[in-house]
């Protein structure tokens, strides 16, 4: 199953590209991303809002499901400073650095990203509450990929 973080990544790529529509099919999954291409001729751009808002349709073979855009209740994203493997804990035997609902401070270590056997302890850099965890333990993450959503104090 496609993960939300992957969909987000795809949206980013689509946003930055000249492609208007992207359809991805794998086994029983189908994902369709489509830009609302504005018509510049008739509608002058007057807002600072992003002009591209992708619509997401995630379809199953029989039961089409629409993923509603979840309104994020966080105002800060901790992103990965490098490509690597994301770890929620310092070892498989110990508990995670943080859980959803935990309070963190700027200096709190929230996870590790490992690349080429360098273990990067990522700090929260803000004071607040962990609202959501956007990557999975053991997953490969990209540079700049959101890892945590934090609601700042």
């Amino acid at each position: 199953m496609i993960k939300i973080s992957e969909i987000k990544e795809l949206i980013k790529v689509l946003d930055a590209s000249s492609v208007d529509e992207l359809v991805y099919e794998f086994e029983n999954e189908k994902l369709k991303l489509k830009k609302n291409v504005p018509t510049f001729e008739s509608v002058p751009v007057q807002t600072a809002q992003p002009i591209v808002t992708p619509a997401i349709e995630l379809a199953d073979d029989k039961q089409p499901v629409t993923v509603e855009k979840v309104q994020p209740d966080y105002d800060y994203e901790i992103t990965s400073p490098m490509v690597g493997t994301f770890y929620l804990s310092s070892s498989p035997e110990t508990g995670p650095y943080v859980k959803i609902g935990d309070q963190v401070t700027k200096k709190s270590v929230v996870c590790i990203v490992e690349a080429m056997k360098l273990f990067n302890e990522i700090e929260a850099e803000v004071d607040g509450e962990v609202v959501t965890i956007l990557a999975e333990n053991g997953e490969l993450v990209e540079y700049g990929q959101p890892l945590f959503g934090i609601k700042q104090k």
Binding site: P81, K117, G138
Partner: protein
């Protein structure tokens, strides 16, 4: 550390071809004769040997093999790496102590060395067997002015330095298993653990931890790792001076690290590839949740392992578990 001691060692070393009198030493150091004598006794306890002749004085005839803060300084020609050395006979883990130093502002180049570690650790807190005197166990602090995404290259740099040190002191050429394990004859001889604390765009500190099996006998290894681990002594049938090993390692590292900071990764890449283990072999690997296989064709300009799949597509692996054996 005592600067008087260092000065005394320097004086004795510079006059090693001749005898120096206690009076001359006491004048040079502005210490009483008794104080000089006490210092000499202390040096003897550290493994220095003197020839002492009445009316002539002392002559240094042997520097110690024993590793201590004092002996490590002697003959170390680095500019900043190892200018502060924190040496322990026995400690939990040099990595933990170095990390504590770094948190409380420890300077770049601070080295923590232990003769024994009771809780030596590798990656993901896996145990690293180091509870005996026959290996070199050390960690040091770096504060490089690099963007964090380039820092993983330090692990490959460290591996090349370690490989060079081994080659220089034993004459045997080791292999580097991507990214940074050192092997001799397919067995692990040294491991590197690199831990970093960084913000998005700036590194607070990097702690490089190194463990090398130097003078281990077969019986020093636990049965569970005996087939996969070895030591310099086992592979070359010689004993090595740990002090010389540490000093050579620190000297080579300082030079290579400075070159890397000013010239980038290209020279490191060339050196790394000259030691590459299983170059051009097909290996199975797991990257994230994906399992695949491919041929190792080298490392990329950022240190990533380049793998070519059956269709001829090249993949760059930054993080992967590889089945090497």
């Amino acid at each position: 550390m005592s600067s008087t001691r260092e000065k005394l060692i320097e004086l004795l070393a510079s006059q090693a071809n001749t005898f120096v009198s206690g009076q001359w030493l006491s004048n040079q150091l502005q210490l009483s004769r008794t104080a000089v004598w006490k210092q000499i006794k202390q040096l003897e306890a550290d493994g220095y040997r003197f020839q002492a002749v009445p009316n002539k004085g002392y002559r240094l005839i042997e520097t110690p093999k024993k590793v201590s803060e004092n002996t490590l300084f002697w003959g170390l020609s680095t500019k900043w790496l190892g200018k502060v050395i924190d040496h322990y006979e026995e400690i939990s883990s040099t990595q933990i102590i170095a990390s504590q130093h770094a948190q409380s502002g420890g300077q770049e180049g601070l080295v923590v060395v232990a003769e024994k570690q009771t809780a030596g650790k590798g990656r993901l807190n896996r145990a690293w067997d180091s509870n005996h005197h026959n290996g070199v166990w050390l960690s040091f602090i770096l504060r490089p002015n690099l963007i964090p995404s380039h820092a993983p290259q330090l692990t490959l740099l460290t591996a090349t330095v370690l490989a060079r040190t081994i080659e220089k002191l034993t004459g045997v050429k080791p292999s580097i298993k991507w990214p940074n394990d050192i092997l001799l004859n397919d067995r692990k001889i040294a491991g590197i653990l690199t831990e970093m604390q960084a913000e998005q765009d700036a590194i607070h500190h990097v702690i490089i931890g190194i463990g090398i099996n130097i003078n281990h006998k077969e019986s020093d290894f636990d049965a569970s790792i005996m087939k996969r681990a070895t030591s310099l002594a086992l592979e070359t049938d010689k004993q090595y001076d740990k002090r010389v090993f540490i000093q050579t390692l620190l000297e080579l590292f300082e030079g290579q690290y400075e070159a890397f900071l000013s010239h980038g990764f290209t020279p490191v890449k060339a050196s790394w590839e000259s030691y590459a283990y299983r170059f051009c072999d097909v290996v199975h690997y797991k990257a994230g949740k994906e399992r695949a296989k491919g041929k190792i064709i080298g490392i990329a300009s950022d240190g990533a392992l380049m793998i070519e799949d059956a269709l001829g597509n090249t993949k760059h692996l930054h993080s992967a578990e590889i089945d090497w054996f």
